[in-house]
Each structure stands twice: as C-alpha cells, then as structure tokens.
C-alpha cells in the first residue's frame, strides 16, 4: 500500500457514502482530542484491530487515550480496522489506513500502540499493518517506520505474535506508557539506530522486546530454552501493575453511531480473589485493588456531565466482592435515581443478596439479569473451583423473576476434558428448573437465555497444562444442548467450535506458531472473532504449509515439568502455585476466596513494596509488615522467578 499521506479527507468524501455505517470512519465526535500535529514531540496511534463499534467500547483504549493526551508533548489518535467494504475501498483507491482525529496516515505516527485483549485479533493486526503500509515483520522495519508496541490480556503469551511486534507491554499500561514515550523521545533526540531504541525500551520494567531473546526446541516439539541475546533485558519479564488505581477516564469520546456498549465504564475494582481455575483474567489481574465509593460516585457524575451517556457500567470481575458494595449501591441510588440512567453491575455472585443489590440500584429498564454458574454438577464445580449449589441458583433465579426481571441470562461453560454428557445434561436440567421457577413467579413472561461458551485452557492459569476438548466432543455436547434447550421462553447461544479452536491454538502457542498466523492471514483469515467472517480452512491450510500439527497446541496433555512458551513472562503468580492448584482440581478439591485465606500465589511477595505503600483495605491481599521485619507470609512464599 502507499504510505504517503494524500489528501485523505477529500478523497473520503466520495467513498464514505458508498460503505456501510460510514460514521465509523469520520472521527470528529464529542470529546475527541485534536492537537496540532506540528506542535507535539511524539505522536501515538492507539490501534484497536477490530471495527470502531467494538474498539470504542474498549476501556483500555480510553484510559491510554486520556493519559497520553494529558501530556503536552504528545498526541494520541484512534485507529480501528475497517470493515470488509471499507477495506476494499482503501485498497482500490490506494488510501492508506488513517487516524480518525487528523486523518494522518498511520505510518506517519512515531508509535503504534496496538490493543490485543484476545487472540482472534492477531490476523487483523497483520491486516492493519498492511493497510497502513508498514512492514509486517519487525525485522523489515527501519528508522522511518513507527515503533510497534502491543499490550492487553492476550499478550501475557506474546510468542505467537513475536516477529510482528517490536515490544510488548506486559500488564497494566497506565504508568509504563509514559515511560515508553519518554524513552522514545530520548532516543529520537540522539538520532541513533532502531536497534538501540529496542534495547532502550527493553530496559523498562514490564516491556518485552522479543527480538532480544531466542528460543530452541526439543525433538518432540516442546520448548527447550529461552535465551537472552541482550544482557540488560529482563528474564523473566514481570508484569506491571499500578499500586493504586488512578481516577477512571470520564471525558470519554461520544460516538455518533451506535456501538457495542454506549456507556460510561467505571472499574470499581481490578483483580479477583475467587480463583476460578479457568479464568485468565482472574489470574493475570491480581492483586485486587479497589476504588473508593466516593471516587466512583464522583466519576459517574463527571462522566454524565461530559458525555450524557444513558448507561453506566460499574465494572469488575466480581462485583459482589467489592468491599463496600452495599454503600456503593446506596450512594449510587441516592445520587442518580430518577435521572433515567441505566446502571449495570455485572458479575454478581449467585445469591439472593445480589438481587437485593440490583433492586436497590433501581435500574429502570430491568431488561435482563445475568449470572454465571458456569457448571451444573458438583463434580464440575469442584474441578473448576466455582462452588455454587443448584439450590443457590434456583433461589436466586426465583428472586430475579419475582422482583421484575423477566429475562434471566445464565452463562455456562462446556468443554473441560473431564466433562461428560451427563454434566451437560445437568446444564439443560438446571436451565429448565430455573425457567420453571420463573413461570411460577411471573407466568409465561419468564424467559431464560443460556449462553454456553467453550472452555479454552489459558496460559498462566492452573489449567495451562490441560488438553482442550476435541471438536467432536464439543459438537456432541452442543448438539445435546441444541436438541433440548428449545421451546417458548428458552434461548441458547453457543460458540462456534472452529472459532474456539483458533483461540485455543493461539492461547498456548509458541514462537513457531507465528508463521501459521502469517500464513493464515496470507490465506485470507481476518476478523477471526466474527462468526460470518472467520475462515477455518485458511488456518488449516496455514498449519499444513508451515508443517505444524494443530493438535500439538490443543489436545496434548502437558507435563507440569514442561517448559512452557510463556514461562519467561511472569504475572507474579508462581508456576508452582498453579501446579498445586491443578493437582487440587484433579482431586476435586476447592479453595476458598483468598481474601479470607492467603494461598501464597506469589503476588504479595512480588509486589510487597507496593502493598506496603498502599496498606489497608484497598488491596485484597493481606497487609505486609513494615520494611525490615519479614512477615510469616513473605517467608512462606517462594520468589516468583521459578519460571
């Protein structure tokens, strides 16, 4: 593609009327930040490699947009992937991908920050680079190309994307993004080589520059070792955290067009203490850090005044576990009831108290209530460490229906290797029993929506050694669900097993898989997360071409002693802890909420200094004693670098 910036805006005039939902491509919305291109030292393009509708709902992007634009010497602009029709228009007319704010060609920016929250964005990332006219491979880029960095939950295993990204940010970006900008500025002032830029960036804590490491493999295809090629690079690379959550962004861009979430997203807490063994987010976002009730209420007020959004999302991985949840709900109700705002409090525990909470929030719309039992038999609940009784589910459901929510949405997960058809049958039976409760309460108006996803074993979780279920098994389980979860009041949604497979290969992929990502993209794979777009055959062809066996990544039982491709990336949760918890899973042993009893996962000793500076209830972890005096807890835990 051409990389010179033509007069993009004028050429768009004739193209936009011909594509679907052109409001995605114009920019110019309320609260967008436009700075003088010539007056800043550093220009960052924040890239979400899917369409505007999804990207504008991504909180990480909003956070970085605000932080970067608050710097006087820096501008940040937004870039999204064009939909198929707009991509064709770009290619047919030779228009490079541009930023929404000032319509500069993406290649003209100094730094691209790519958001990779999930693996099915990988092929789109390559496509975005190609549309921008930037070489796909890091090794082919020179001083005239932007620095390409990526972060987000998927990058806790960066290896399948290692040749395409110059540097990965591991963990939370709020602080490290400025350090990267400043390091970049220092490098640019000295006008030295790209290699020296990468070496400088690699010395920032939490930054992984893959080209400074090399890997070698055993004959059976497993990883034999990872070696640094640059002395000052870290190994392991420890994720970044912010010890105290900074104020949430409130001056959010207000889209002209409908997007996935039209809301003010406010994280009430980050991290989770529940320890569900399948949950990647729950493991990689530790420790729990909470915002205060006052801060949250202030943020809602500011957000409403600056955006006018009709919906507030109070976000966390487990809202019920927020220490001051009752106070929060009361304060929100006092301040905002009667103002026609829809307030959502997702991820509530399955207990009747949750219905009280939602009731108090007085959300006018009462369209649906969502709970996530995940499994329906005792056996599966113990394996995944989500102990919720069937009685709790039924009691909670009864309350939900009788207090005015006609629709209950239940999330389940199938596909654990020890799950049988009986366990799946139990999901069906539970759904029917729940709907029956609803009918008793409100008659035929009662609806039940079962969202059944498929388990993907994730890196950095106790299930990182577990095989994925076979496609045949998944299909049989889904057939059972489809044949029985039908009829009036019942709705079933499920994940396409082909899409699950793509996610499963990439989640636990190694460096060799990068060539498969590249080939899949060459074979036409993109928008892998879109049911109507993803192209399984392109992936099979890619594996074939590269000569790798997809089942090696998904269906193999890994030994706990195996060196894993992401072991040199540390979330601070020790590998030994995960192995213990994996063993507990196999013994059907559960562990309780670690707010009540610390299991020494490794987070606290790793971040002991940060904890010491932020004592008290804002963290979910126990307090640590003042410097100098080692507490029992710290002695109990082993250093995190056993990877």
């Amino acid at each position: 593609m051409v990389s010179v910036s033509p007069n993009i805006e004028a050429r768009l005039q004739r193209i936009l009327p011909t594509v679907r939902k052109p409001g995605r491509y114009t920019g110019g919305e309320l609260n967008q930040v436009v700075k003088d291109w010539e007056q800043v030292e550093t220009r960052v393009a924040l890239v979400f490699p899917d369409i505007y509708d999804l990207g504008m709902s991504n909180l990480g992007l909003a956070i970085l947009y605000e932080i970067l634009n608050q710097r006087e010497d820096t501008l940040a602009e937004r870039v999204f992937a064009p939909w198929i029709d707009m991509e064709a228009a770009h290619r047919d007319n030779g228009i490079p991908l541009y930023s929404l704010e000032t319509k500069h060609s993406v290649a003209e920016f100094d730094i691209l920050g790519i958001s990779l929250p999930y693996e099915t964005l990988y092929t789109n990332t390559l496509n975005v680079l190609d549309l921008a006219g930037i070489p796909i491979f890091s090794a082919q880029r020179d001083d005239s190309d932007p620095l390409i960095i990526a972060g987000g939950h998927a990058t806790f295993n960066p290896e399948p994307m290692h040749p395409f990204i110059d540097a990965f940010v591991i963990g939370e970006g709020e602080e490290v993004i400025s350090e990267i900008v400043e390091t970049y500025q220092g490098w640019k002032r000295h006008d030295s080589s790209r290699d020296s830029l990468l070496e400088a960036i690699a010395q920032i804590e939490g930054v992984y520059v893959p080209s400074l490491y090399e890997t070698h493999y055993n004959d059976d295809g497993t990883l034999a070792g990872v070696n640094k090629r640059f002395e000052a690079a870290a190994q392991p690379i420890l994720k970044r955290i912010v010890p105290e959550l900074p104020p949430p962004p409130t001056n959010l861009v207000v889209p002209f067009v409908d997007t996935v979430h039209n809301r003010i997203p406010i994280e009430i807490m980050r991290g989770c203490t529940r320890g569900c063994r399948f949950c990647h987010a729950g493991m990689v976002t530790r420790p729990v850090r909470e915002r205060t009730v006052e801060e949250i209420v202030e943020a809602i007020e500011k957000g409403v005044a600056s955006t006018g959004f009709e919906e507030i999302g109070l976000l966390s991985l487990s809202s019920s576990d927020y220490t001051h949840i009752l106070e929060l709900v009361k304060a929100v109700n006092q301040r905002f009831s009667g103002r026609h705002l829809s307030i959502s409090l997702p991820s509530l525990r399955i207990e009747t108290v949750s219905v009280d909470l939602m009731d108090q929030i007085k959300d006018e719309r009462r369209s649906g209530f969502t709970l996530a039992p995940e499994a329906a038999t005792e056996k599966m609940r113990q394996i995944i460490n989500k102990p919720v009784s069937t009685q709790q589910v039924l009691d909670t459901a009864r309350e939900v229906y009788s207090r005015g929510w006609p629709t209950l949405k239940l999330y389940f997960m199938i596909g654990h290797p020890s799950e049988t058809l009986e366990d799946v049958q139990a999901i069906i039976d539970l759904c029917k029993a729940v709907l029956k409760e609803g009918r008793k309460a409100i008659g035929r108006r009662a609806k039940l929506h079962a969202g059944v996803s498929t388990f993907v074993p994730k890196p950095h979780t106790p299930f990182q050694w577990s095989p994925s279920d076979t496609k045949e098994n998944i299909l049989a389980k889904q057939e059972l669900l489809k044949s029985q979860l039908r009829g009036k009041g019942l709705k079933l949604t499920w994940t396409d097993p082909d899409e699950t497979m793509v996610e499963a290969w990439l989640s636990r992929g190694d460096r060799r898989l990068a060539e498969v990502v590249y080939q899949a993209w060459l074979h036409g794979a993109k928008f892998d997360a879109w049911k109507d777009q993803h192209d399984y055959q392109a992936w099979m062809d890619a594996f074939d071409k590269v000569g790798l066996d997809p089942d090696f990544y998904t269906h193999r039982e890994r030994e706990v002693t195996e060196l894993l491709p992401w072991d040199h990336i540390s979330t601070s949760v020790r590998k030994q802890f995960m192995a213990q918890d994996f063993a507990r899973s196999q013994e059907s042993e559960t562990i309780e909420d670690c707010r009540h009893s610390c299991y020494a996962c490794g987070v606290l000793p790793t971040f002991a200094d940060q904890r010491r500076e932020n004592p008290g209830e804002s963290w979910g972890c126990p307090d640590v004693s003042p410097r100098g005096k080692k507490s029992e807890l710290i002695q109990l835990a082993v250093p995190s670098s056993d990877a």
Binding site: P22, G23, V257, D258, V304, G308, R339, H340, E364
Partner: protein, 222 residues
Amino acid sequence: MLDKTTKADQNGKPAVAMRIRAEFAKTEAMRFTSHLDLYRAWERLLRRAGLPLQFSQGYNPRPKLQLAAPLPLGMTSQVEIIDFWLSGETYDLDQIHSLILSSQPPGIDIRTVEFVDPTSPPLQQEVSAAEYEVIVLDQEPLLNQKVASLLEAESIIRQRRNKSYDLRPLILELSTVHGQSQSLQMRLSAMEGSTGRPEEVLLALEIQPEATHIERTRLVFK
C-alpha cells in the same frame, strides 16, 4: 422513540410541563449520523445540559423527543426541527437556550428555541414538503435536458427496497442552478407515506449520489 404515552402521563405523572421546539443545523460532522442516532445525540445533549427530559412510562421508558422529518444518511441540513418535553422545574427560554448551546456536540448547530403548546399535534404530522440543494461534483453537460425530460414524464417508476413506486408525483419542484458549481434545487413531498428522497431523484437523472453533496435547506409546513 416516538411517544404514545401522553395519556398515561395525564393519569399518572403531572401533566406535560413544557414542550420546547429547537431549530438546528445538522452539519458536516454528523453527516453520517442516522435518524435514530440523532435522537440519541439529542438525549445525551439534554442530559449534559442537566435539563430534566421527560420520559414515557412503562417497562421501557423512552425520552420524549420528536424530530420533524428523517434526514437520509449522508446529507447535511440547515433546518432540522426537534421538539422535546421537560418535566419538573420550569425554566425560561433564555436559560434553556444557553444550556443547550453549551452542550451541543459537533454536528448540531442550534439556531432558535421556542415554547410550543404541549397539546399541538406531533411535529411529524405538520411537515408537508422539504427542499434540498444538491451540489453536483462532476460536470454534467446534459443536466438541463435531463431535468427537463424528467419533469415532462408522467410517471417515474422506481424500485426501492423491493417495492416499486412512482417518484414523479413526489417531485414538487426541480430546477438547475449554474453558479460556480453546478447544482440542483428540489422540493419533494415529505408527508407520512409519501416522501420523496433526493438521491432517488439523482438516480433518475443518472447522477451517482456519492458524486454530489446534498443539503436540506427548508422544511415546509402545512
């Protein structure tokens, strides 16, 4: 978004307090904002302004807003009109004007506000026609002849969304203007159930709508 609940309000909540009519331009920034999304933009504008917009009652409360006539995607307008209802406190017109002016997003350019009798008919029912100015970006040497022959036709049968209809009676006026650039002026019917769309006229003239810029210049009331 259209309200059907005026009666419910009379039974339940206090009667409609204030109905305000605002005239605004929909400018370039919102050219690709749909009719539905424009409603949403106004709801958010009023929420930012801190004005207590009235909502319908029932399971799914809707803000009480009425736009006069939908403007097709891709067009700008000098003359959009919206009615909104406020409940609770009373405000004077200047207060309302300054609050909404300071809350308007890019793409909405508020011109005037006035009070309207709350019992007067829905805004949509009062519009009879709309006028448009179309700038033709590529020179059309035969434009005058094309316009003349279109006007001479007794009927112009066109297909839209798999339905065939006669465009001709919906064209009330059509003329060419030759200034610095070539342009067309048209007045099209805008009654419920018989609305003429400017891009349909352009297609009948064999002009690609994307090679034009269309702006609504006037709404004609009954």
